[in-house]
Homo-oligomer: 281 residues x 2
């Protein structure tokens, strides 16, 4: 089966695609796409069997385009979640040393995630923001006084010298990816369900929706609001809960919800990816 | 008094600063800053009396950096909210016509907000993403086949010819700005209060926090989650509610909240800016 992922090669998205492919027994062929909406489109057109996209990062928050596309698509479901640690590494062309570095390339978010290391070791170096870490890796293939901060995989692909590894400030940084398909995952007993809904305008309406779950002891692990793209102050809500949509109490909760929401869409039920990563809200 | 705003001149942030200055009687001097964190820093150091920053947009959602800085700052409060409509205009150097356009400059979000107009009128034109609309306005000062999509104010500042006005797809697009100061606004009777908190790990804990407000009939107009920047799945919540922190029932709610949250910070009480813009959650 073909698995679409967000390219270019050497990004954390490719790492997540490889991790999922290994979990799935290694019989997936990876196909690179330049944008998240193109992965979703390829999935709808059945060019690919599944696609993997980033959903949220523990430092930066949600990937808004993924949420907006999931809310508006009719045919796409979350099939699996894959949680990947985010680690950053200082690399340059073979022959380069840290003292040779004049310019440092990486994504702006990566600079801010490696602030302590950069301030201590590269305070005088010119920092050049680049649109992706994989593209930054390409920029430093020749020993011209340039270095980049990239993923371990990009260092390998572009045959770069590792000058310092694990230079991120925060060792708990993780990204949650979701594997998207055209159907739910079957029930495993350790599942999560994602849904999106909008509520009626009225005091206490969100409280009342959350009560549908709280009264049944259904744990929420995430709630996120996004603008409904109509008017300021009008939101849609994304919720993750513990359990599968075929569980009796979740079915019951969904029926009760029907009367309280303006719009509701199940985004899929799938096995929990990160044990120990979920908080209960 | 000095009012800091996010430059450069000609952006919607400057429009919002001018609107606030007029509301305040016109006796504010505007000072441009290159980044939101620098406005907050200038406020803490008392270089400026107030600062104005974008908080959320009805199409794009929250401005994450503003939320994160508000949550971590001890001395800054929201003093006022200012809601500005977002309109986009096609401009070029004097002498240019629509048929002369070969290249179109603007911020990537602006291209997506004017998709219908561009597809219909400029399908063959090369779209060049630029880091701000004001910087795009500067790029088209000479009649070299270039046009830009900018704010009405930028068109005036850079003396550009208006080729088409109000070309945005969605006429309801608005940005909510907040005026930040070192103290709350006094009570007006038509107020809102913003706060941020984190909750204990446990099923139903968010429901229980919302109950503190729902039981007292306090309307919520906004809830937003952001990563707590510690581990995946650990969030802080931003809530806007109707009323002033000196209102008896809000004081009471805050006391009850004390036992239910791990951390809580009042972000300020201020007059409601956008009548008719608020939903009740």
């Amino acid at each position: 089966m073909l698995l679409g992922y967000l390219g270019p090669r050497g990004t954390f998205s490719e790492e997540a695609a490889i991790k999922y492919s290994q979990q799935a027994g290694g019989n997936l062929d990876l196909r690179e796409y330049p944008a998240i909406d193109q992965i979703m489109e390829a999935l709808c057109k059945k060019e690919i069997g599944q696609g993997i996209v980033p959903l949220e990062n523990s430092l930066e928050g949600s990937i808004n385009i993924t949420l907006d596309l999931l809310a508006s698509s009719r045919e796409i479901f979350i099939y699996q979640e894959i949680i990947c640690p985010v680690t950053h590494h200082l690399v340059a062309a073979p022959g380069m040393e840290v003292s040779d570095i004049k310019e440092l390339y990486s994504h702006p978010q990566v600079f801010s995630q490696c602030r302590a290391f950069i301030n201590q070791n590269l305070p005088q170096v010119k920092k050049i923001p680049w649109h992706s870490t994989a593209a930054a890796a390409l920029m430093v293939s020749w020993p011209l006084g340039r270095a980049a901060i990239v993923s371990r995989r990009a260092a390998g692909i572009y045959k770069l010298k590792m000058l310092a590894s694990h230079i991120q400030d925060n060792n708990g940084n993780k990204t949650r990816f979701v594997v998207l398909g055209r159907e739910d995952h079957k029930i495993t007993g350790e599942d999560k369900t994602s849904l999106v809904f909008s509520i009626k305008d009225g005091a206490g309406s969100l409280y009342s929706v959350l009560g549908v779950f709280a009264r049944r002891g259904i744990n929420l692990t995430r709630i996120e609001s996004r603008p409904a793209r109509k008017s300021l102050g009008d939101y849609i809500f994304f919720i993750d809960l513990e359990g599968h949509c075929q569980d009796h109490r979740i079915k019951e909760a969904m029926c009760e919800l029907e009367d309280q929401v303006v719009f509701k869409k199940m985004l899929g039920s799938y096995p929990r990816g990160g044990h120990g990563d979920d908080y209960n809200l």
